[in-house]
């Protein structure tokens, strides 16, 4: 199956709090991408992780690829209202990109 399960589905937090969202699959994948989609816009690529156990940082965002390459997490430190959006993970299989259902994050000022 190409299914990517993301959790939680919805998350509402106060500015300054930390949070982690997850992307899980029952099958191994060679690489995984994280996107952020703001209302009325298309998704924007944040990062691609390719190696099991890999950790990448993008300012206050930390992305981790599981050792078994079946899961990934995104941790945001000191969330800001500008982090509000839909966070999507995606994997590539052959020519196709499969997206998860997303985590909708709202950061309240």
């Amino acid at each position: 199956t190409q299914l990517l399960e993301q959790s939680p589905q919805f998350l509402s937090i106060q500015e300054g709090e930390n949070l982690t969202v997850y992307c899980n699959s029952s099958s191994v994948f060679s690489s995984l991408q994280w996107y952020r989609q703001e209302p009325g816009e298309g998704p924007v690529l944040l990062v691609t992780v390719v190696t099991g156990g890999e950790v990448k940082k993008l300012k206050r965002l930390t992305f981790q690829f599981g050792d078994a390459r079946k899961d990934s997490s995104l941790h945001i430190t000191a969330a800001q209202p500008g982090d509000t959006g839909l966070y999507l993970c995606a994997r590539r299989t052959g020519n196709q990109f499969y997206f998860g259902t997303g985590t909708s994050l709202t950061v309240i000022p």
């Binding site: 009325g40 298309g42 998704p43 924007v44 691609t48 999507l88 020519n95 196709q96 259902t101 997303g102």
Partner: protein, 113 residues
């Protein structure tokens, strides 16, 4: 560099009507994708072009959806006739040939009444 352009941004039609969406990818990008994003879900690939050839259209409902990219640049996605369940955002994306980095347009929000 200009991004991916899509039009219209919004469209409301009645079921059984026809509708067409237009996409202009980033200049030089050989690969073009059309996705359908239903509210509350992630994007689902409908069709992928490499220049003006179809690479993958396995998830395109061919009885009612069609797409073309005649000169390997702009692309049009058509729905005829539309059904209520076609209500969604239709996203176009482009990339350099075989690159993993896709650039998405803002999408067209379709409402079928």
């Amino acid at each position: 560099e200009a991004g991916v352009a899509q039009s219209p941004r919004y469209k409301i039609i009645e079921k059984r009507q026809s509708v067409a969406f237009w996409c202009n990818p980033i200049s030089g990008h050989a690969t073009l994708y059309w996705y359908q994003q239903i509210l509350g879900q992630g994007p689902k690939l409908l069709i992928q072009f490499q220049n003006n050839g179809v690479v993958d259209d396995s998830q395109l409902p061919k009885d009612r959806f069609s797409a073309e990219r005649l000169k390997g640049v702009d692309s049009t996605l058509k729905i005829q006739p539309a059904k209520l369940e076609d209500s969604a955002v239709y996203l176009c994306a482009s990339s350099w040939a075989w690159s993993d980095t896709q650039y998405f347009g803002p999408g067209t929000r379709l409402t079928v009444l």
